[in-house]
């Protein structure tokens, strides 16, 4: 905090005044931190609306039969819930918000390589989001295909699929440009002395993510274009009536959408790594192994898409090949978990809110990961495919993984973003309630799935009733926890927060500068002469 005084004369990025002031100052800013925050605000809005949709669905499922909505409304609701959460929150999630905010600082750069392209990506993101949301209200009613747009139903349904698919296409484009920007930044703008193997691990995960964004997203982009062409131009690709193969659609869709899971989870793992290191006050265990496992997850994750399609009519050979490769992904993921625990070992652990979030992440991620092995193995998947088990699994991974990491990152970097510290006690209470609610909500769905309750129906048989009540009550507990967490953070921003520069004594470069950072982060580009995590 001593060094802070000398920065005081320079306004930080929140207060900086450029050519425009007020809202325009933000909308035209190419500063990576402002863009990161703009992503953050937009994303929280979409996330909360997705949460509301989820709550409504759980409310519908509190008892068998029609409670608050009919089948078609429910179909529309799970589609838009999926679209919002997947495309607007978890895929860009950690990378676009915290990657933008901190990756350039962590490698000692003043900004990303292409700041204007970065702003353009944000606009594309917003446009895509608007188109997706507009698809709910215009034309012939909200799409009811689920977020996967499986052919041939997506070709035949009368609902407004074209708009939703177009929105997803634009969002993909935004994602590609962000990934491109990050990769180039890491290639070109590392501070002097920061070799590749001195880069913080969060940046490494973003590097792997960037490559997946570049190489996987275009495949789904072209697939979406084909669906649009098939619906509007009357040419044929996937409709079996004209010789098309709907399973080919599934292949192409999952060639992107499975790696997309790694787009979500890799930066989340990076965040957890940073937090575990900082709060153990110890060098990371196995830096090189962490780097390699990040890249291995990105690479192997590209070839496992078929495990979404075991029951859709693929050849038997393809099924066991995909099952085999799927098990391979578990290895680098497990390396990460082992290294986190090994880093904790004999560390001087500092029990603070971000650390608790990180531990929550590891807990739910393990459950999600192991249930993933159940789904990844051919025999058991055939039993639980398209049941509530799958829903529970991917909520543990996607929401439990990325969502927990998102909030962990938020609590970790909050003082850096706003220069203020939140009330730790209330944050912890919120987390505990959230954690209990999360497990009460999703764990019963594993059991329901094993009992045979199918997913994506607004109604169910009487024998599933009691567990569904538990699950619905869990959703209310979780929402309560979420409200506490968010209100606590908002209050800290409004002024009740203690002003701090570096509450955690982290060692990566972002903690060497004032909070909030000034416009171009560093008054002078730092020279790096040590390993990223040199705790003595």
């Amino acid at each position: 905090m001593v060094e802070n005084t000398e920065h005081k004369h320079e306004p930080n990025f929140l207060e900086y005044r450029g050519k425009y002031t007020g809202l325009m100052g933000w909308l035209t800013s190419t500063d990576h931190k402002r863009i990161g925050l703009m992503y953050f605000y937009a994303m929280m809005t979409f996330f909360l609306s997705g949460v509301v949709m989820g709550l409504l669905m759980k409310l519908e499922l509190i008892s068998p039969g029609e409670q608050i909505m009919g089948a078609q409304t429910y179909n529309g609701l799970f589609t838009v819930h999926g679209l919002t959460m997947i495309f607007l929150f978890v895929i860009p999630g950690v990378a676009a918000v915290f990657g933008n905010l901190f990756m350039p600082i962590m490698i000692g750069a003043k900004d990303v390589s292409f700041p204007r392209l970065n702003l353009f990506s944000w606009y594309l993101y917003m446009i895509g989001a608007m188109v997706v949301l507009a698809s709910q209200f215009m034309g012939d009613g909200p799409p009811d295909t689920g977020w996967t747009f499986y052919a041939p139903y997506s070709l035949k349904t009368q609902t407004n699929v074209v708009a939703a698919v177009t929105g997803a296409f634009i969002l993909g484009f935004s994602s590609i440009l962000t990934g491109l920007n990050f990769i180039v930044t890491m290639h070109r703008l590392r501070a002097p002395g920061m070799g590749w193997m001195r880069m913080p691990l969060f940046c490494w995960t973003l590097y792997g993510t960037g490559w997946i964004q570049l190489l996987a997203t275009p495949v789904v982009g072209i697939t979406f274009l084909m669906v649009i062409a098939e619906r509007t131009l009357g040419i044929g690709f996937f409709d079996p009536a004209i010789g098309g193969d709907p399973i080919l659609y599934q292949h192409l869709f999952w060639i992107y959408s499975h790696p997309a899971v790694y787009i979500m989870i890799l930066p989340a793992m990076g965040v957890i790594t940073e937090i575990v290191i900082t709060f153990s006050r110890k060098t990371v265990f196995g830096y090189t192994a962490m780097v390699i496992s990040s890249m291995a997850i990105a690479f192997v994750g590209y070839f496992v898409w078929g495990h979404h399609m075991y029951t859709s009519g693929m050849s038997t050979t393809a099924r066991w090949v995909f099952s085999f490769i799927t098990f391979l992904v578990a290895i680098p993921s497990a390396i990460k978990v082992f290294n986190w625990t090994a880093t904790l070992y004999k560390g001087s652990i500092n029990l603070q809110t971000p650390f608790y979030w990180a531990m929550g992440f590891i807990f739910v991620f393990m459950i999600g990961g192991f249930s993933g092995l159940v789904l990844g193995s051919l025999a058991t998947d055939i039993h639980v495919h398209d049941t509530a088990f799958v829903v529970a699994h991917f909520h543990y991974i996607v929401f439990g993984g990325t969502g927990f990491a998102f909030f962990a990152a938020l609590h970790y970097w909050y003082p850096k973003m706003y220069g203020k510290l939140y009330n730790g006690k209330i944050a912890n209470i919120g987390l505990v309630i959230f954690f209990i609610g999360f497990n009460t909500l999703y764990f019963p769905m594993f059991i329901l799935g094993l009992m045979g309750m199918p997913r994506r129906y607004y109604d169910y048989l009487e024998q599933f009733h009691s567990l569904n009540i538990v699950s619905t009550v869990g959703s209310w507990i979780m929402a309560t926890g979420l409200i506490i967490v968010i209100v606590n953070l908002l209050r800290a921003k409004k002024g009740s927060g203690k002003e701090v520069d570096d509450p955690w004594e982290g060692r990566t470069l972002e903690w060497t500068i004032s909070s909030p950072p000034i416009l171009e982060n560093f008054e002078e580009i730092p020279v790096v002469d040590h390993e990223p995590y040199d705790y003595k």
Binding site: L117, I235, D245
Partner: protein, 206 residues
Amino acid sequence: METTANHHADLHRDDEASKIGMWLFIFTEILLFGGLFIVYSVYRFRNPVAFHIAHEELSITMGLINTIILLISSATVAISISAIQKNDKKMTLIMLGLTLLLALTFLVNKYFEWGAKFEHGMYPGSELMKMLSNGDMLFFSLYFFMTGLHGIHIIVGMILLAVSFFQVKSGKIHSTRFFLLENSGLYWHLVDLIWIFLFPLFYLIH
């Protein structure tokens, strides 16, 4: 790689970064068409006879001419980049102009090729197309979609090259600052690369 780590004092001008960015974008484009090549190979594998018969509707001569046009245009762009490095502005402009002209010729050819199909009632959504058998339908859907998307890329490439042309003319691009021209050139070669595969796949099925 270590060379990258010590010369970014000037944030606002980094030609190497633009070039990496362009290459990454090219990779994205490769995978974009890659998705289509997967679709093509799967459907051709499943309908070998229909694809063979359908391809006879396409004129090999027309395809060959267009291939050679694109190859020449690739060479002219490459020469124009060599020329700007040698500070030979006139040669650069001539070569770029030639490239644009060749690109236009390609499009005109494409227009006549597609036009002939349209005249026979063969276009997306037409009655004739709806009556086609399964394999033929897939072939022509892919043909229109892939060559159409390629055509759009030609137009984008032409816009990039035209901008480069005018910037060379106004002196904004010169022998030490030509990353825009270089990147437009890379993009143009990509368009050529894709066509190199499209040509045998659609016109030369045996």
